[in-house]
Point group: D3
Chain length 158, copies 6
Amino acid sequence: MNNSLPPNKEHIDSEMVKMEVNLDDISGELLGYVMDLLFEAGANDVYYTPIYMKKNRPAVQLQLLCSEQKVGTMKEILFKETTTLGVRYYPLSVHRLERRFTKVETKWGPVTVKVGMLEQNAVQKAPEFDECKKIAQQHDVPLKTVYEEVWKTMESST
Amino acid sequence: MNNSLPPNKEHIDSEMVKMEVNLDDISGELLGYVMDLLFEAGANDVYYTPIYMKKNRPAVQLQLLCSEQKVGTMKEILFKETTTLGVRYYPLSVHRLERRFTKVETKWGPVTVKVGMLEQNAVQKAPEFDECKKIAQQHDVPLKTVYEEVWKTMESST
Amino acid sequence: MNNSLPPNKEHIDSEMVKMEVNLDDISGELLGYVMDLLFEAGANDVYYTPIYMKKNRPAVQLQLLCSEQKVGTMKEILFKETTTLGVRYYPLSVHRLERRFTKVETKWGPVTVKVGMLEQNAVQKAPEFDECKKIAQQHDVPLKTVYEEVWKTMESST
Amino acid sequence: MNNSLPPNKEHIDSEMVKMEVNLDDISGELLGYVMDLLFEAGANDVYYTPIYMKKNRPAVQLQLLCSEQKVGTMKEILFKETTTLGVRYYPLSVHRLERRFTKVETKWGPVTVKVGMLEQNAVQKAPEFDECKKIAQQHDVPLKTVYEEVWKTMESST
Amino acid sequence: MNNSLPPNKEHIDSEMVKMEVNLDDISGELLGYVMDLLFEAGANDVYYTPIYMKKNRPAVQLQLLCSEQKVGTMKEILFKETTTLGVRYYPLSVHRLERRFTKVETKWGPVTVKVGMLEQNAVQKAPEFDECKKIAQQHDVPLKTVYEEVWKTMESST
Amino acid sequence: MNNSLPPNKEHIDSEMVKMEVNLDDISGELLGYVMDLLFEAGANDVYYTPIYMKKNRPAVQLQLLCSEQKVGTMKEILFKETTTLGVRYYPLSVHRLERRFTKVETKWGPVTVKVGMLEQNAVQKAPEFDECKKIAQQHDVPLKTVYEEVWKTMESST
């Protein structure tokens, strides 16, 4: 690996919030769209969990993580785009690793690898999904083969 | 245990059908109601499984079991009450135990116990849920305590 | 729409609590009953999430929302009616919309619609499930058709 | 509603196949991509179900529906793009409604509505998701508001 | 029941923490192993919930409960053994019952029963799983039969 | 890679059966044990899916795959060890890849890699989990690091 990009220091963020809504009166079709809106508006993460509610209703819990500054924006989207009459939330802390980015040269071209640093040690290495996907499509190879190639190349050069 | 009721012989039923629909454009609220309709119309079982469909949609798979004779009835309910444009189904076999019913005398009164017989051996004993629930409510005791009492009484007398 | 009932102001409730128990040694049969008890005792919401616990155990997480005043009552039900040896909980805030109720006249009679107001704007409109269900049963029409009719009538008159 | 497009007759298709693979050694990241490939190659539906496998492994079941003619194509994608060593499958029948398409004129322009016909009766009406989504984005209105408007307009004109 | 062992008083523990990570780029195979490591390192509980993340990814949420003192240890395992770049956590309270242990004499030998005491009342009785399992294996009887026998014996003697 | 072991030819097995039972009256604790028994008795796979059944019951579907010869054995375990009164099943076909086994030499010693062959092409390569786990434990390295090392070594030598 070569070519380090500017780091993003390891830290504990104590100004994060988790928001939740339980939804039993909206279709999955609309929820797929709401996820996109929440990400575009700055949510750090958005995900769905299957739940069972009263009266035999299969339902969905929408959860999202955002900074305190985004609470108002997120609430507005949830109230306008879903069917909920209430949004609940609570604060939490997030310990984030320093993130570094390096490039790996594969036979199909360069791929960025995100490296997670815990107290100066590289504990995570994640090839960028979108770049691997583009290679898989352009070169008509299985995506898992692209990942395998990145692992091989990354390791040999470290 | 005393008081055997007429048996229901152990057998293999080869005329059962499983039906399935995937639903991403209906709410859980409506699905809770549909389950009741299908049972009332004679489904042997109806249940929901959480699934994930395309375009990030959290969705629900409705599955039901019914006899071949009920296929038309079930399809009609599914088409009228859900949003599906297609219903899929396939045959399956069901090996059913002989069912016997006995009575157990608890301190709160009698409770029916359903007994499953595999080649003449009692392999299952299930206190009837609705009777236990009624006792729990009438006598203001935890439902699990009612079950425990039934187990104790049933075993002592066998 | 006509006929507004008294409002229930938009507010942030900071005295709510979420309680959780993980359950791998109780049957679903008992859990269906426990949900009813918790609602009757004043829980704002109760729901189940499928989880996987140690030793290959498919299990269930029971979660409920209640006001701080109800914490003792909820704990008592959980300890008496489930098999848990511990109940965990934490505070959270809930932003609730103002709720107004209006009546819509359908060809089968009136249906109440709950309207959620965000800063004086109607962002949610939810026909009352139990009223729609009653119409569906009395008039032998699909429940989704009742909803469609309510939407049509509601919109035309607004 | 006006403007009927050519119908697609109600029928029972007895040449459909369901395929399944259980996956505990691949990441969700790759599976999101595999779903797209299977749809592009002609699967009628593809969906994921959460399952629990041996050794405490949270895992995923991939299921797909395709015509008998597509079995070879689907298998090849599954073997090349996932980590499975086996693909299982079985035949099933699908009862499909006749599909008609009509146009509804909303204040933001026309929207196609797919109509499902059961023995000449319209039992399903589904506004096209992608058209509604485009309107929501272009006119900056909630997607659920677009659907409500389509329902209102559709019903008034029928 | 006889033979009480030293009690473990009912109390509210306000120094517990819940940690969470969402994982879409790791296999279930690795996660089965991570659960064991977290328990060995002192987690009070560890469990997996199926979630759906962006880009159609079926994923897993790992949650764990631990004391404040264990936060550093748990984070280190999560960062080293999973693929996450961030770990989130928040404090919670746990109301724990007093735990007593008694012995029940079955026809296959003694079995420990854990008893949960709520304000001096026995509200939970749980036969120890590992002891029942050992009996089932050694005596070649169904595990459910061992539990039934323990219930019967326990109740008769109380 | 070197050291090929005897192959296991690619083939379609048309004598497989899937069995299913829905369980709402048994605990997860017992189900964890039942999975082990079914594998020991020769099931090809056993897995659990979360389902929702009538009366608000969170429940579990047990599914297993076995050869036709094993149907009787599996049924007997299901009837004796679970609480079901019926077992349903249907035939399916499984297309299995040829399996080859090779050895990879890592710095911690050899690891077996299972290779899946589709028409003479290696489409799957899976390091043996149990061997990787043993190395992780003995050398106190993260399990994911062992996998990465196997990938690197495997690729360099092929």
